[in-house]
């Protein structure tokens, strides 16, 4: 895979990902494009729809780039919220979890 040779980057999500955070998260993700990414959502206490949209758009873009986009660690709140809004993050979970 093309991603093999590129160093994996990581992104630790803030505890509160509300409406105000969406733009910042979007910009942050854009700067990380072009390399496989591992997202740490272990600290997330709250995530709103806009940030979920940004993450899912990111996942699609990475997929189009044939790069890996995974969630390394996730908090209970993150999992439950994504379940609540019908966003299935299971396929994006890193294998070791």
């Amino acid at each position: 895979m093309a991603s093999r040779n590129i160093a994996k980057k990581s992104l630790k999500l803030a505890p509160v990902l509300d409406l105000n955070e969406a733009t910042a998260l979007h910009e942050r993700l854009l700067t990380l494009k072009g390399a496989p990414i591992e997202i740490d959502a272990s600290a997330v206490e709250r995530i709103g729809t806009l940030c979920a949209q940004v993450l899912m758009a990111g996942a699609r873009s990475w997929e189009e780039d044939r790069m890996s986009f995974t969630f390394a660690k996730v908090s209970d709140a993150f999992v439950k919220t994504t379940q609540l809004i019908g966003v299935d993050v299971a396929p994006l979970m890193a294998k070791e979890i």
């Binding site: 733009t23 709103g48 990111g58 873009s61 379940q83 809004i85 019908g86």
Partner: protein
């Protein structure tokens, strides 16, 4: 801001919304078909429902909901707002107002009436014509005289353009008890970007939705673009939700209460009763316990997992915290909605309505407002009153000390005087309020009386934006209510009689307000039969009010109806015959410093004209001298002043004197004697007679020593500052700093009739 304050704001908003609702419905009733009018009406009910929901006012919410559902049918052109439909809606607006008042003051509501209306509203929403025999069994009022025009074009349920409406399915099962069987709803929820722009989050709405029951969800991400081309603040996700709940569709919709305008929402009952995991879409079940998502208390997350009771209690506590927080924002949104509707009303130019009406609407909706505590305004008014007095005192002392009229002090003083007057006027204007709320209340009274009497009545109001002091408005409602009742009950004929007299079977009652020479004039005209003078005269003779052979002019006969205990209704009706006569009306108008008179034309109707002061804080008075005391006589009471000639004075009995004025005799009343300022009666020829009109229409000539002048005085309550003095209504402070008493003309006249002064019902001003 504590909860009570927020609640108070909500109720104030409700009042405005109710006014908006009623005026919108009345416009529709007049044939206005502007969609914006319908929208305004809908928004009014919707906002009340929303706020009421936030405060847990369930009765209000459930009624508003049904009302709103029916209005939605009108909004989407599935229900033609014809007269019969609007009749139900106007009645519903009344009940909504009752429910709001009950929620505010803890009063009771006619439950049977609201239940009946809910049925009627539901019937309308289901496309049934108003008052079909089966739907209105308890209807006691007579059926409308005219046939229902053009049946409502209620399209078949499946026709295109049909939108599912709350209650529309449940209504087919109206015979069922209110407990709702769990059923599965399919919900399509597609937020617009505005939803997020206003600080709402779909996540929170979905969380609330999940609490209603068992939920499965599918997130539609088809619209989601690539990361590079997306706007992180736009809405891309949409959801299809399957929810099994026993709370009903109403509960589902109430979750989206304040997001409704910012999303597409469809709620439909899924076929069958199986928990409908969507057949074609992959539905993801939502975990039952989402308590850790409650942002209010995230720290409690772990602890609640196992112990169900603890979890439930915590969830409850959190719900309370969340709802308290959301109430504030709900109320805020209500205010926004109200403002938006006001703006819409401003921008909407109803082509059909008369230009004047459009201007009025614009005038009432325009400028931004603030709410100020009435006490603060009163304090300001009081201070300005002091300022006026002080300025007058200053002027007087300058005039006394400086005879040179051209001095700069004098000129400065004149400017000060003008400024003071302007400040006074402006401050008074703060308290001034349009009479609209009172007029609107009257339209309800008319509807109710018309219903009770089986008459068909149209209330036309004009000049509702005429402003008058709030205290006057508050005291205006009661006499006006009584007069309206009288006009419909006694004034207007039954439809049959009207037709027989060649009139429109629908009677018209016209309520007009206008400013005229510094006073507000309110006219109440009906196009009924007019006063039956024969009957009035006979009744007056029977009651010993007049002698059998008294020679009375038409006007005098008409005025007899203002006598105490006078009622011409043959049988005491439920409406007007409550033991309160027109005399009470007259007295309350006079207590306001006003006057009332009547003109009546047989067969054409009667006109009651009330003239009231614009404020109760100042009074135009005639300053007079009585036994070297300065008194103020309210100018409104004075008909004319005259210098009696010796030949016009006639003695009558032991101490009574009469004055002959234009061939009629009028009792002469020495004010100084009545008030015990002097021991013997003054010589009338040396004084001035003030011809006054008092309660009951009788005229008296009040004897005073001299007239000093005429001026506007600031009313100071004697009761509040000293104690009640018989014969005196209030006091004021004159320019020279002395206190002058304001005469209570009615009490003086009554005392002159031999009644004792103390404990008279005084027309206390101020």
């Amino acid at each position: 801001m504590d909860m009570n304050e927020i609640k108070e704001i909500f109720f104030q908003e409700c009042e405005e919304q109710l006014a908006e609702l009623e005026s919108g419905l009345l416009k529709l009733n007049d044939g206005d078909r502007d969609p914006e009018t319908v929208n305004a009406v809908f928004r009014a009910v919707h906002s009340i429902k929303g706020g009421a929901g936030a405060f847990g006012l369930d009765d209000l919410v459930s009624f508003a909901h049904v009302f709103e559902t029916t209005l939605d049918c009108v909004r989407s052109n599935r229900l033609e707002p014809n007269q019969d439909v609007l009749k139900v809606m106007l009645k519903s607006a009344d009940v909504l107002a009752d429910l709001t008042n009950a929620a505010r003051d803890g009063g009771s509501v006619d439950g049977a009436r609201s239940r009946q209306l809910i049925k009627e509203l539901e019937a309308l929403a289901n496309g049934e014509l108003p008052q079909p025999a089966a739907e209105a069994p308890a209807k006691s009022a007579p059926a409308p005289a005219k046939a229902a025009p053009a049946a409502i074009p209620a399209p078949a349920v499946n026709e295109e353009g049909f939108q599912p409406v709350a209650f529309s399915f449940e209504d087919f099962e109206t015979s069922e008890p209110p407990t709702i069987e769990p059923s599965t709803f399919e919900i399509l929820f597609r937020p617009k970007s505005e939803l997020y722009g206003k600080g709402n989050d779909a996540t929170l709405l979905l969380r609330d939705l999940s609490r209603l029951g068992e939920m499965s969800i599918h997130c539609d991400m088809d619209e989601l673009p690539a990361l590079g081309s997306m706007n992180p603040e736009a809405a891309y996700f949409a959801w299809k939700i399957s929810l099994k709940t026993d709370k009903g569709e109403e509960a589902i919709r109430s979750v989206f209460e304040f997001a409704e305008w910012d999303c597409e929402l469809e709620v439909t009952l899924a076929g069958g009763n199986h928990a409908g995991a969507g057949d074609e879409l992959p539905m993801q079940p939502v975990p039952f316990d989402l308590s850790l998502l409650d942002e209010a208390m995230p720290a409690l997350a772990g602890a609640a997992e196992d112990d169900e009771q603890v979890a439930a209690r915590q969830r409850e506590a959190r719900d309370e915290a969340v709802s308290a927080a959301s109430i504030a924002s709900n109320v805020l949104q209500m205010a926004q909605t109200a403002r938006a509707s006001a703006e819409n009303a401003r921008s909407a130019a109803p082509a059909s309505a008369a230009q004047a009406a459009a201007q009025q609407a614009a005038a009432s909706a325009a400028t931004p407002t603030i709410r100020v505590d009435l006490d603060r305004v009163d304090r300001l008014i009081n201070l300005v009153g002091e300022l006026v007095i002080n300025q007058a005192m200053l002027s007087q002392s300058v005039i006394e000390n400086d005879t040179n009229g051209t001095s700069s002090i004098n000129m400065g003083l004149e400017e000060l005087q003008q400024l003071t007057r302007e400040i006074q006027d402006s401050v008074m204007a703060i308290r001034a309020q349009p009479v609209k709320p009172v007029f609107q209340r009257m339209s309800r009274i008319v509807r109710e009386i018309a219903d009770m009497t089986g008459k068909s009545v149209r209330l036309v109001t004009e000049g509702e934006n005429t402003e008058v002091d709030k205290t006057v408005i508050d005291k205006l409602a009661e006499p006006l209510t009584h007069m309206i009742r009288n006009a419909v009950d006694h004034g207007l004929e039954t439809p049959e009689k009207r037709v027989a007299a060649g009139k429109n079977p629908e009677g018209t009652v016209r309520l007009t307000a206008k400013h005229r020479s510094g006073r507000i004039v309110i006219e109440l005209a009906d196009d009924g039969a007019g006063i039956n003078r024969e009957k009035v005269r006979q009744k007056a003779i029977d009651n010993d009010l007049i002698a059998a052979d008294a020679n009375l002019s038409d006007e005098e006969i008409d005025n007899l109806i203002f006598h105490a205990g006078f009622s011409t209704a043959d049988k005491i009706s439920d409406i007007s015959g409550r033991g309160v006569g027109m005399d009470v009306v007259k007295r309350s108008i006079q207590a306001l410093g006003g006057r009332i008179n009547i003109q009546s034309k047989p067969g054409q109707g009667s006109v009651f004209t009330m003239s009231l002061p614009l404020t109760l804080a100042v009074l135009d008075g005639m300053v007079v001298t009585v036994a070297s005391q300065t008194l103020v006589v309210p100018l409104t009471a004075i008909v004319e002043t005259l210098q009696p000639e010796a030949s016009a004075i006639h003695s009558f009995g032991a101490s009574q004197r009469l004055i002959s004025i234009r061939n009629s005799f009028c009792p002469l009343v020495d004010v100084g004697r009545i008030l015990n300022f002097r021991a013997t009666q003054a010589n009338p020829v040396e004084g001035v007679a003030l011809l006054v009109e008092s309660e009951g229409g009788g005229q008296r000539a009040l004897m005073v020593d001299a007239i000093q002048g005429q001026r506007q005085v600031v009313i100071k309550s004697l009761e509040a500052n000293y104690t009640h003095v018989p014969g005196i209504a209030a006091a004021t402070i004159l320019g020279d700093g002395r206190v002058a008493l304001i005469l209570d003309v009615d009490a003086i006249v009554a005392a002159s009739r031999g009644q004792s002064l103390p404990e008279m019902s005084l027309a206390a001003a101020g």
